[in-house]
């Protein structure tokens, strides 16, 4: 599938040093639309959709973000902690709006799976079904994420 001009611009903004230090694509050699299509297919096989995942991530971020400093115990089996750094970042697709430099660490204590995401990741998943390229510092494997969020 030929990339659209929007995807080409986004790919350019996802390079290291444009919006973030190491970019969003890691060492992945696939085109942006291929990365997204592969992850979308995997998500479908797992029986979930991006919006559902993003909403649950948002819930954990919101719940732990509003805590004073510490890890929150949520639903009796999740440990979540959100570190908020000052400042905000734009989406590489050029949407108006900014996303906090906030990092959420979630551990599902039942299966021991831990995942890390930023506020921008939530938007990238919800609006673009983009989990980042392999090798990217904030790449989240859809399968791991589903296990952490729903098992």
């Amino acid at each position: 599938m030929k990339p659209t001009s929007k995807e080409l611009t986004a790919t350019q903004r996802m390079q290291p040093g444009v919006i973030t230090l190491s970019g969003f694509l890691g060492s992945d050699t696939r085109a942006l639309n291929e990365i997204i299509a592969d992850d979308a297919a995997m998500l479908e096989r797992l029986g979930h959709d991006p919006e559902e995942l993003a909403d649950r991530m948002e819930y954990f971020t919101r719940t732990s973000w509003s805590s004073y400093l510490d890890e929150e115990l949520i639903e009796g089996k999740y440990k979540a902690q959100t570190d908020v750094y000052r400042g905000k970042l734009p989406c590489p697709y050029g949407h108006a709006g900014l996303y906090r430099k906030a990092i959420t660490r979630l551990t599902n204590m039942q299966n021991g799976i831990s995942v890390v995401w930023t506020s921008l990741n939530i938007h990238l998943i919800k609006a673009h079904c983009f989990f980042e390229g392999r090798g990217s510092a904030f790449r989240i494997e859809p399968e791991t994420l589903v296990k952490a969020l729903f098992e």
Partner: protein
């Protein structure tokens, strides 16, 4: 047949070539806006070459509006009132402007192209914002992820700021980073040190500017910044003061306290610093030393998760339960907060529950 195709292609190529040349010529003429005048606050005129955005045009004349995204239209901090000549509102501006701001002709300076004479209104304090070149004279490791860095201005240069304000540090290209970025950092030194400033910078995972500061900057390096910006500063009243900070939020409070140590103060002040563990505490002796300088001051570090080996004898848990003892008259108490949104939220709620007026709680939220 083949000859006709070749001929058609040649004709088409010729037409496209001519069109392309015409376009380049038209572009040159159409985009040549000549000299444009920017009238500021009805008092001062500057003349710039039209065609650039307002933020950059003002920058050329050393007038620096705040900007946290380098003019990419993504931070909303370059707001400015344009009374005439701004052209129609752009879709890129709308999401950042409230209804009241839209009615008040507020625009994003980085999005407005200067094509004609423009009339703008900006706070007078903006004229005090300048670009400075400095040399790093000291780097202190305060904790495992927080450094204090001192920047000495070039000989003869002086900066005039209010304790609590911030500057925008401009990073230099390094490793894969080909561009400069500018990021806001509160000044942690006192305004009386006019020839240098100190910043307290926390390393952010995968952060462009903080990785540069923590891993690449060294004593002797030359660094640029602009400033001062911001309206977080101590109000001149007689009210008792509660300071609350966490992490790098200590920076503006340190500046305020160091300034007060110079000018003197009689007000009752209590400073709560919230951290997780002992290794997140820093500058404790320096803050405690203010207890001997001011007539009525207490510094209270509070650890929420002291580790068993820490040997921590001080206050534990959250800072909020300790407010009761520090507030003698909530009606005559002001609070200055600088920390994460979670901390600010919890602290604001606790203070208002105790009767401190919302309007007297000033904060520099990390949000």
């Amino acid at each position: 047949m083949f000859g006709t195709i070749i001929k058609d292609i040649a004709v088409l190529a010729g037409i496209s070539g001519i069109l392309a040349i015409l376009l380049v010529i038209a572009e040159r003429f159409l985009n040549d806006y000549g000299d444009c005048r920017i009238n500021i606050n009805g008092k001062r005129d500057i003349t710039i070459k039209g065609g650039n955005n307002l933020l950059a045009s003002l920058g050329e004349k050393e007038i620096f509006l705040p900007s946290a995204c380098g003019g990419r239209g993504s931070c909303g901090t370059c707001k400015c009132k344009i009374t005439e000549g701004g052209g129609p509102l752009l879709p890129t501006e709308k999401p950042f402007l409230s209804k009241a701001e839209l009615e008040d002709s507020i625009r994003l300076a980085c999005q407005v192209k200067v094509k004609t004479d423009v009339f703008i209104q900006i706070p007078e304090s903006i004229f005090n914002i300048r670009k400075y070149t400095s040399t790093i004279t000291e780097i202190i490791d305060y904790t495992y992820d927080i450094k204090g860095i001192t920047f000495k201005l070039e000989d003869g240069e002086e900066i005039d700021f209010k304790a609590g304000q911030y500057v925008q540090l401009i990073s230099e290209p390094y490793a894969k980073m080909k561009q400069r970025v500018s990021r806001a950092y509160s000044i942690s030194s006192k305004p009386e040190d006019r020839n240098s400033i100190q910043l307290i910078i926390r390393l952010v995972p995968e952060g462009i500017c903080t990785t540069w500061v923590h891993n690449y900057l060294k004593v002797g390096d030359r660094v640029n910044f602009t400033g001062p910006y911001g309206d977080f500063y101590l109000r001149d009243t007689n009210a008792d003061i509660i300071f609350v900070a966490g992490g790098s939020g200590k920076a503006p409070i340190k500046s305020i306290l160091e300034h007060l140590a110079v000018v003197g103060i009689e007000r009752k002040m209590t400073y709560f610093f919230g951290a997780r563990t002992l290794k997140d505490l820093y500058l404790t002796d320096e803050m405690k030393a203010f207890e001997k300088i001011f007539p009525d001051f207490r510094y209270e570090p509070v650890l929420s998760q002291p580790e068993s080996g820490d040997g921590w004898q001080g206050k534990t848990g959250y800072v909020m339960p300790y407010f009761k003892d520090a507030i003698r008259d909530p009606k005559n108490t002001e609070a200055y907060l600088c920390g994460s949104p979670g901390m600010i939220n919890a602290v604001c709620n606790a203070l208002t529950d105790l009767g401190v007026a919302k309007e007297k709680i000033y904060y520099d939220s990390f949000g």
